[in-house]
Structures are given as structure tokens and as C-alpha cells.
Assembly symmetry: C2
Homo-oligomer: 321 residues x 2
């Protein structure tokens, strides 16, 4: 009988679903609006219904499904399968989502935070394939993280480990939304990259980005990378600072969990090889000289599917059959 | 029959030995000079002989011994039981110490680096007792580290993880012996504490330590703490800087492996409550405000026995019977 694993990526705007065979090959996927304002009961009913539709569309039955995995924004009690709270889904408070969906489907459901799930996806079938020790960063509006040590996710005593964007990079430095100062997130996220470019222009630094700011009223990290590719000096300086912060983050993680590979994901990797090369360059500049470090630094390969793949792969990890 | 576990702490100057029962109660201990210049064969023969003597002095026989654990300075291939090199024991190069000693004794021998072993000792019977996620720092001439995640040591892909003294605290800052700049070791080790006090006096800062420098030609971290206790302002400022660096290290480790407890060991904890209170104070000042963190920060309790206890406890961990 075909063994099927379902992965669910619960976002504030959309819920993505994927069904996979035991080799984690994608058999089919779909997406529905989250409509979180309708409350958790309606959302979970919708999940139940969508999983059933997706499975039957692919000519399988629920009997084929071994387990379901789900990624959601934190904070959550992943071991208990409970979403504690969500900034963007205020009606979700202490929702035992694994138990409720599990009872409806009659299948085990496992939960983890979205960064851990994406990390696990890259680890199992993406850029982390073939190593047992990996560190993962998502460079989006903030910086999320995931850590694999000897083939297992590091979760921390209360499930809130790997908040790697809040490692302090410059003590006393830029304010971060979390209440700390100098977090690496405040120097190297997509938002911070855009913000530093904006600040420089407002301080009268010359740049082709000035026109963008004038026309659109704001600059995005995408603008920065487009102007970088076109040779703008300010875009180059801002990207260099981002790369340096990320390189020092790599040095620090090497000295903590000693990964064999560090994988960057998220919107900002669209900057491409220019960014990757600068991270590698600064890593070489900042790492110790005691011994040669064969650390691999690379970009993620799964793109937007990382969430559903990772969730399904986690379901397989905990419920192999 | 009594189950005995032997712990060996191989240092450049002395080798310490302890024998423990299955509950990790110390039954007897001894120490011999290392005489590393006589080469690994002589040293290992001496180990074999000393273990046999210690066991029989306590009226046990080798039949009672289940396994032997050993801590040594790195770098080592702990999985293979091989000491690769040692700064202070130059004749030890690629020594299969576990295999050789194991064949002599007819018992399994496990190896780990000294910081991991001390960390494991504190975890099993010392200041880390009762938690499953812990971070450990030794504050000596350098800063060593150990990490326990979900009840297991984090070693890294090549066994060189938890080099926590080389986390970069101030990018571009003080030079470290490792070749990096701004390592926390260069700000918060015992050596650095003494060095910063010396620099300040040489730059004409007023302090009761000036007299010490004049008389002894150098200042130690012990001097700094003695003068701190006596109310010297410079000693207070230097200690405060040390505490702040260690507090930020705690913040960063919380965001990586989310320990429930962080344990400080090493010569510098002789500074006592003044240092501990300042670390806790600065942790409270620097940690995020997103949620309350019940992290416990405390001092180690095993003192100089941590090495032999930890080694014996590691032997028990891998060879319970």
C-alpha cells in the first residue's frame, strides 16, 4: 500500500498543503486562504476538508495517510501540539490543533514552528541533504533559525531555541522589535537592509535608490539588490554590511554547534551570488586561524515548498509507519 | 557485584584518577605527575598501573570495573578515542589512547575533551542536576564551553563544537590568540580580566592594584577580585565589564540552544557572589522583553573533581553495564 505523508504550512494569510510519498516526492499540493478571523474551529474544519480533498484528488484514501505534519508561527508548545498565541492570528490562543485535527482525520498530527519545519525540509531533501549537522537561517522581515545536531532538531528546554535572529551582534547597537539592542536581525534581515539604505539616502548619501524612495515612498530589500546588480555604490555598501553580519553569525554558530553546512533561505537570497560570495568572503576574514574550517555556506533550494515538505518529513520522522 | 566506573582527568601537569560506584559516589581518588615528556607509551602504562592500584586499594578488583572515562585537552577525535595533538604534550600526536589503555585494562575506555567532561560532571551530579538543557562555561586562562541539549552533549560534526570562548562579542575588537578579533575570551577570561586591569593602571587609572603591579610585576584575576572585595573602583569597573560580556554570552546562548540553566566554573568563580550578581543583573538588562525568561545562572559545585566525576559519568552513560 502507498504510504502518504501530509504537510501543512499554516500561515497568517494562506494555508498550504502537500501530500508526499515515503520518499518525500511531492504528489500534489494546494492552498486555501487562512481566514484566521473566523476562529480556530472553522480553520481546523477547513484543514480537515482540504486534506481529504487533496488526498482523493490524487486517487488515494485516508487509509494511505500515515501521519500529518504542520508548521505554524510560534510561540507554540510543539511537544503538546498547542499553538499558544499568534501575532497575526489573534483568535488562536492555546489551541490544541494537533489533537483536534488528529481526531477529525484519525491520524497522528505533529507540530513545530515554521522555521524549524523549513529547516527540517532543507535538511531532509534540500540544501542540507547529506550532512548531519546543519544551521539554517531565513532572511525575511526578521531572521528565523533552525539547528540540526547529529540528525535531530535542537528545540531548547521550552521549545523556543534557535531564535538565531536575536543573537546580539553589536552590544548596545540598533534597537530590535524584541526589546534587545544590537540583534543580528536589526543588521541583516530584509527589513533592516531596506531600512539602512533608506537612512543613508535621508542622510544625503548619493544613490540611484534615491529615485525609488522619491517615487514609491519606500525602499525594499529587492530594490537594494536590483540597484546592487546595476552597480550602485550605496547598495553595495549596505549589502556588504549585511554580509559581514551574517558571516560573523556563521563564525559564532560554528563555535557553538559546529555545523558542517549553513543554509540561508528567505526572500533575501534572491540577491543571489553577490550576497553569497560576500558572506563567504567575510567568513574567511573573521574565522580563527587555529585550523582550517571546511564549513559550507549555501542557499536553500526548496523555495516556498520548504514548509510543506518539512512538515511532511517531520511527520515521517516521528511516525515512520 | 559492585559496579565501578573509573574517571581519568589527563592534564599536562597531573593525571587525576577517581573511582565511583553506579550512583557516582566517589570511592577513592589519586593523582600522579603526567611526565608527558616521557611519551605516550610511558604515560599510558602509568595510567594502567595507577588504575589497578586505586581499585585494589579500595578492595575492589578489575572485575568490578564496567568502564573507564577520560577527559583530555583537545583537539581529539573523541568518537575514535584518539588524541590528535596537544599544545602542552607535544609528544602526543595521533595517540589511540582509548584502544591502548582499553586493551591493557580489558575494559572499554571513552574519551572527550576536558570542558565537555567537566560539563557532563556538573550535569550529572553537580550544578546542572535536574535539568536536561544546560550550558557550561569554564572561566580560566581562556574560556571553555560545554552544551547539553535534551540530555546529550553537543559535539558538532567533527567534535569541535562548544568552543564558546570564541564567540565574537565585539566585531573588530581585541585580538584573541585564536586569530579572531573580539572573542568573548578576550574580554571575560581570567587572563583578560587581569590584562584589562593592568592596561588601565598603565594608562594611569588610580587603583589600589597599582601597588600589586609594582611589587609583583603583574596582576592576576585573583588580585582583581581581592581588591574588588576591598572596594577598589578600577577592580569594580573591570569586573563589571567581565560580567557584561558573560551576560551577553548568556543571552546569545539562550537564543541558540535555550538552556534551562547556565553554569559557570573555573578559577574565576572564586570572585564569588559579586560577579554572579552582576552577570544576572546584566542578563536582565540585555535580554529581550518578548517573554519572561526563567533562565537560571549559577556557579559550578564540583570544583576540581568535575573532571574525574564527569569522565566516570560519561563512561557510565556509554557503558551502563
Amino acid at each position: 500500500m502507498n504510504r502518504i505523508f501530509v504537510g501543512i504550512d499554516l500561515g497568517a494569510t494562506n494555508i498550504k498543503f502537500g501530500c508526499f510519498n515515503g520518499e518525500m516526492e511531492l504528489l500534489g499540493k494546494t492552498s486555501v486562504p487562512t481566514n484566521a478571523d473566523m476562529g480556530p474551529e472553522a480553520v481546523i474544519n477547513r484543514m480537515d476538508q482540504t486534506v481529504r480533498e487533496l488526498i482523493s484528488e490524487k486517487s488515494f484514501s485516508l487509509d494511505n495517510v500515515i501521519a500529518v505534519g504542520m508548521g505554524s508561527p510560534g510561540p507554540a508548545k510543539y511537544r503538546d501540539g498547542i499553538i499558544i498565541a499568534s501575532t497575526n492570528m489573534p483568535k488562536f490562543r492555546n489551541v490544541s490543533i494537533c489533537r483536534i485535527l488528529g481526531e477529525k482525520l484519525g491520524k497522528p498530527v505533529v507540530l513545530d514552528n515554521d522555521a524549524n519545519v523549513a529547516c527540517w525540509g532543507e535538511y531532509v531533501v534540500g540544501a542540507g541533504k547529506g550532512v548531519k549537522d546543519m544551521v539554517f537561517f531565513t532572511l525575511g522581515s526578521g531572521i528565523g533559525g533552525g539547528i540540526i545536531c547529529d540528525g535531530e532538531l535542537v528545540r531548547g528546554w521550552d521549545g523556543n531555541g534557535a531564535e538565531l535572529g536575536h543573537i546580539i551582534y553589536r552590544p548596545g547597537g540598533r534597537s530590535c522589535n524584541c526589546g534587545q539592542r544590537g540583534c543580528v536581525e536589526a543588521y541583516a534581515s530584509a527589513n533592516s537592509t531596506a531600512k539602512r539604505a533608506t537612512e543613508a539616502i535621508e542622510a544625503s548619501e548619493k544613490s540611484s535608490l534615491e529615485q525609488v524612495l522619491k517615487e514609491k515612498g519606500q525602499i525594499t530589500s529587492k530594490d537594494v539588490y536590483e540597484h546592487l546588480a546595476a552597480g550602485d555604490d550605496l547598495a553595495r555598501r549596505v549589502t556588504d554590511e549585511t554580509a559581514q553580519a551574517l558571516a560573523i553569525l556563521c563564525v559564532n554558530m560554528l563555535h557553538v554547534t559546529e555545523p558542517r553546512r549553513i543554509v540561508f533561505a528567505g526572500g533575501m537570497i534572491a540577491a543571489g551570488d553577490i550576497l553569497l560570495e560576500r558572506i563567504r568572503y567575510y567568513f574567511g576574514r573573521h574565522i580563527w586561524t587555529l585550523k582550517k574550517e571546511p564549513l559550507e555556506i549555501c542557499f536553500a533550494t526548496l523555495g516556498e515548498d520548504a514548509g510543506i515538505v518539512g512538515a511532511a518529513a517531520l511527520a515521517r520522522h516521528y511516525h515512520p509507519q
